[in-house]
Amino acid sequence: MDAKELIARRVAREIRAGMLVNLGIGLPSLVANYVPQSLGVFFQAENGVIGLGARPPEGMENLGLTDAGGGFVSAVPGAASIDSAMSFGLIRGGHLDMTVLGGLQVDEAGRLANWKVPGKMVPGMGGAMDLVTGAARVVVAMQHSARGESKVVKSCDLPLTSLRRVDLVVTELAALKPTEEGLVLLERAPGVSLKEIRDATEADLLIPGEVPEMELA
């Protein structure tokens, strides 16, 4: 299993029946593959649909039905079209049960940075700032390190996405729970030792007596 699949399968376990969930583009969008249809979960794409379904067969795509990455999707039974004002009204107003986003850095205060690398990459925040500020639950799904540097840091040096403390961070090594006291090491990825996690992490971690292995969907 590669890192991305592992992360997606762990995040999928956070999703409960009947939730409204927004999945960011890239890694987070893989989560949908591991959520059983029987849960009756509705996926929202912030560009304007509640009830996102799979990509249609070749030739049956419609230019007017895409996800937030511009990819073709379908609409499940019970889907609803919404404009951008309603879409972000739902997000900012706390009606979105969960958002899953990628990250560039998360720090000991549980703050996320994911929209800008000054001087290098300025894609813009898109909907990320509203999602992190407004969603009932924020889950960050990201690889633990990039180019040999830990993305779980003492304090973000990249521009913040929000002051809000995220609710869960899932990497291919660990599940971390930001709390008022700091980052709690909640679970280890299968076969990963505490030492491996500590060595790969710049931030100080709070490590309980027992750190179970992740269960995956």
Binding site: G70, S81, D83, S84, A85, F88, V122, G126, G134
Partner: protein
């Protein structure tokens, strides 16, 4: 009752230096024929207010590639490397705005509200230079309303009163931008006789729409 005009005739209404709101999300729901006519007219120094910079060759990306744009107010420009390059070189000024804030600023401009009080952006770079207003013990950023000289929007069905309906994720910024342009030009997929769109299916009342573009191929 409004007659429909060609994209070329509509483009003639728009001068160099105009501010344009253009609907669409990654070019989905963008008025492509209208944009092509603007590119052909070789306009300069435009200000674009739009969700994103699309990609080269699509949606507002065509205006950016053509060198028609001086300023962009958008939430995301990450999929258009030409936009990134022009921003870094200083050819285009770019104001990045959180998407939910952007759509509310446009709505406020179109609906006569004085601004938007949002928690989004508090404590981030977005806060810089802005006022913070405390209401009932909570802090909010005061974001100012946006209006434009023209709103160029895309719709699904129109009638000759100017009533518009939209298709699925091609709604996005179009219904809100229809409120906030001094002149609103709509590019519909089809135009039907007055009375065909049921009142409950109208999402933009015709009173907001000043000009309709003829259908493609006409």
């Amino acid at each position: 009752m409004k007659g429909a005009m060609t994209p070329q005739a509509a483009a003639e209404l728009i001068p160099d230096g105009a501010s344009l709101m253009i609907g669409g999300f990654m070019a989905v729901g963008s008025p492509e024929r209208m944009i092509d006519a603007l590119v052909a007219r070789r306009l300069r120094d435009l200000t674009l207010i739009c969700n994103d910079a699309a990609m080269p060759g699509k949606g507002v990306g065509k205006l950016i590639s053509a060198g028609a744009v001086r300023r962009v107010i958008a939430s995301h420009i990450g999929l258009n490397p030409e936009m990134q390059a022009k921003m870094i070189s200083g050819e285009i000024d770019c104001e990045l705005v959180p998407q939910g804030t952007l759509v509310e600023r446009i709505r406020a401009g179109g609906m006569g509200l004085g601004g938007v009080l949002t928690p989004t952006g508090l404590g981030t770079e977005v806060e810089e230079g802005k006022r913070i207003i405390e209401v009932e013990g909570k802090r909010f950023l005061l974001e100012t309303p946006l209006k434009a000289d023209f709103s160029l929007i895309s719709a699904w069905q129109a009638d000759y009163v100017g009533n518009l309906s939209y298709l699925l994720t091609a709604h996005n910024f179009n219904p809100v931008m229809a409120l906030a342009g001094k002149t609103v030009i709509a590019e519909p997929e089809s135009i039907v006789p007055v009375g065909v769109i049921p009142p409950d299916a109208v999402k933009t009342p015709g009173v907001l729409v000043h000009h309709l573009l003829v259908r493609a191929g006409r």
